[in-house]
C-alpha cells in the first residue's frame, strides 16, 4: 500500500511577479518526497483557499514579496476558517519585516521563512507540524 504523502499548496498571492523563491521551495519539497500543488502567480485569497480545499492539502505555502502580507494573510486565514480548514497549516515566505513576524504567528501562521532560509529548515518545519495519522 502506498504511504501517505504530505500535500502542500504553493501559491503566490498578490501582484508581485517574483516567483523564483516559490519555485525553489516547490522543488525542494518535491525532492523531500512531498506532493506540491503549484498554482502560480497572482492568486487571490479566494483562489488559494478554494484550491487548498479541493486538493485537500496539509499545508498552504505562501510567498509574498510585495509587502501586502498584513492584508493578504489575515484574509486567507479568515477564509480558511470559513471553509473549516482548521487543520491546514500555513507557512509564509518572502519579505516579511521582523516586527510583523510575531503578529502573523499570533494570527495562526505556523512558520515564517525570510530570504536566506535553508530549504531544509522549511522541510523539517512542515514535517514537524503535519501529523500523519
Amino acid at each position: 500500500m502506498a504511504e501517505r504523502k504530505i500535500r502542500v499548496l504553493v501559491a503566490k498571492p498578490g501582484l508581485d511577479g517574483h516567483d523564483r523563491g516559490a519555485k525553489v521551495v516547490a522543488r525542494a519539497l518535491r525532492d523531500a518526497g512531498m506532493e506540491v500543488i503549484y498554482t502560480g502567480l497572482r492568486q487571490t485569497p479566494e483562489m488559494i483557499v478554494e484550491a487548498a480545499l479541493q486538493e485537500d492539502v496539509d499545508v498552504i505555502g505562501l510567498s509574498i514579496l510585495s509587502g501586502a502580507h498584513m492584508a493578504l494573510v489575515p484574509r486567507i486565514l479568515e477564509l480558511m476558517k470559513a471553509h473549516d480548514l482548521n487543520d491546514v497549516k500555513v507557512v509564509l515566505g518572502g519579505i516579511i519585516p521582523d516586527e510583523d513576524v510575531p503578529v502573523l504567528k499570533q494570527m495562526g501562521v505556523s512558520g515564517i521563512f525570510g530570504p536566506g532560509s535553508d530549504t531544509q529548515e522549511i522541510i523539517e518545519h512542515i514535517r514537524k507540524v503535519v501529523s500523519l495519522e
Binding site: 525532492d31 523531500a32 506540491v36 500543488i37 483562489m47 479541493q54 486538493e55 485537500d56 471553509h83
Partner: protein
C-alpha cells in the same frame, strides 16, 4: 436514486460538500476507502468520462481549461482530474496543471483535483479509476481526466475513460513517429493544438496518413489495435467511428466548440453501437483480474511467509534454481 433517503451517507456527503469529496479523494489515493467505494459504486455510471492525453507541452491543460469553460456554458458540471508524474527518486511531485486552469476559479460547478502517478507508469495512477468513480457518483456531468505528458506507451487512459482525446502539436515528430504503436491508436478524437503555429499542415498530413494507413493495414477496424493495450482487449468493435482530426488553439479557445460537438457525437456512437458496453466489459474484466492477482499474491505471501519468499529469492540469486522453478515451488508450498 430518485429517492434521496435511500442514498448512502457517503454519496449524500460528496454531493453536498466539496470538502467531503476532497477528503474522500485523499482516502482513495491512500488506499483507505474500500468500504466507501463499495457504497458509492452503484450511484455512478452517469458522467461522461473524457480522457485527454498527449506529449508534454502540447497544451493539454490549456485545452482542458477551455473544454471545462465550454461545458459550463452548456450548463454542465465539470470535474477535472489532472495527473502529473511522481519523481522516481524522491517520491515527491510538483503538480502544476492548475496554473493553466485559473479561469475556472470561483465557479461552484467546477472541481479540480491534481494527483501524482505515485510510481505507476501507464500515464495515470493506480487509484485514478477509483477517483473517477467518486467524481462520477458525486454527480458531475463531465469528468475530464488529464494524463501525464504521454508518449508512446502511456495508454491506460483508454480503459479509464470513455472518449479519449489525443493532443498533438506541430513540430513534435515526423511521419514515422505517427505510425509507431502507442497513443495514436487509442485516440477516439485527434486534436492538433497550437494550430496557429508553423508546420501545422505537415503535422495534419502525417496524422491523416497514419490513420489511413491504419485503416488499410487493419482492413476492418482501426480500434482493433486496441487489443494490444493490456487493459482494454476490445473484441468485435466495429469500424463505424472514424477518428476525426480537429484543430484547436488552446490559448484563445479556437476550435473548442467543434471539439465538444465531436465528443458528443462519439458518446452517441458509443451508446448506439453498443461499443461502450463492450469496452466496459473488457475494462472491468481486466480490472478484476488485476485486483485478483494482487489479492492472490498477498494471500500466497501470507501463507508461505515473507521470510520463505526471501530465502527463495536468495536461492535464485545463488543460481541454485531458476526463477520459474522458484515461483512453482512457492506456489506448491502455499497449497
Amino acid at each position: 436514486m430518485s429517492d434521496v433517503a435511500t442514498l448512502p451517507p457517503i454519496v449524500t456527503a460528496i454531493r453536498e460538500s466539496r470538502r467531503a469529496l476532497a477528503r474522500l479523494l485523499t482516502r482513495i489515493e491512500n488506499h483507505a476507502a474500500a468500504s466507501e467505494l463499495a457504497a458509492l459504486y452503484p450511484f455512478g455510471g452517469k458522467a461522461h468520462l473524457i480522457g485527454v492525453t498527449g506529449a508534454p507541452g502540447t497544451g493539454k491543460s490549456s485545452l482542458v481549461n477551455w473544454m471545462a469553460k465550454a461545458y459550463r456554458a452548456e450548463g454542465k458540471t465539470v470535474s477535472i482530474l489532472a495527473v502529473d508524474p511522481t519523481s522516481p527518486f524522491s517520491g515527491g511531485a510538483v503538480l502544476g496543471d492548475r496554473i493553466r486552469m485559473r479561469d475556472l476559479h470561483g465557479d461552484s460547478g467546477v472541481f479540480i483535483r491534481s494527483m501524482a502517478t505515485r510510481g505507476n507508469l501507464g500515464g495515470i495512477a493506480r487509484t485514478t479509476k477509483d477517483m473517477i468513480r467518486a467524481l462520477d457518483a458525486a454527480g458531475f456531468d463531465i469528468v475530464l481526466i488529464e494524463t501525464v505528458g504521454a508518449g508512446q506507451s502511456e495508454v491506460e487512459i483508454a480503459s479509464a475513460a470513455q472518449t479519449v482525446i489525443v493532443v498533438e502539436a506541430p513540430g513534435l515528430g515526423d511521419d514515422v513517429q505517427a505510425i509507431k504503436a502507442g497513443i495514436l491508436e487509442i485516440a477516439d478524437i485527434l486534436v492538433v493544438n497550437k494550430a496557429d503555429n508553423p508546420g501545422v499542415e505537415s503535422t495534419l498530413r502525417a496524422l491523416r496518413a497514419a490513420l489511413d494507413l491504419g485503416h488499410r493495414v487493419e482492413r476492418v477496424m482501426h480500434h482493433g489495435k486496441l487489443m494490444d493495450v493490456p487493459a482494454v482487449p476490445v473484441i468485435g468493435e466495429d469500424s463505424a467511428w472514424q477518428t476525426p482530426i480537429l484543430q484547436t488553439i488552446a490559448t484563445n479557445g479556437t476550435g473548442v466548440s467543434e471539439l465538444l460537438t465531436k465528443i458528443a457525437e462519439h458518446r452517441a456512437y458509443l451508446q448506439e453501437s453498443g461499443v461502450q458496453r463492450l469496452r466496459e466489459r473488457a475494462s472491468i474484466s481486466a480490472e478484476i483480474e488485476e485486483r485478483l492477482r494482487d489479492l492472490l499474491l498477498a494471500r500466497l505471501i501470507e501463507r508461505v511467509g515473507a521470510a520463505h519468499v526471501q530465502a527463495t529469492i536468495e536461492r535464485v540469486l545463488r543460481r541454485e534454481i531458476d526463477p520459474n522453478s522458484a515461483a512453482q515451488a512457492l506456489l506448491a508450498d502455499s497449497g
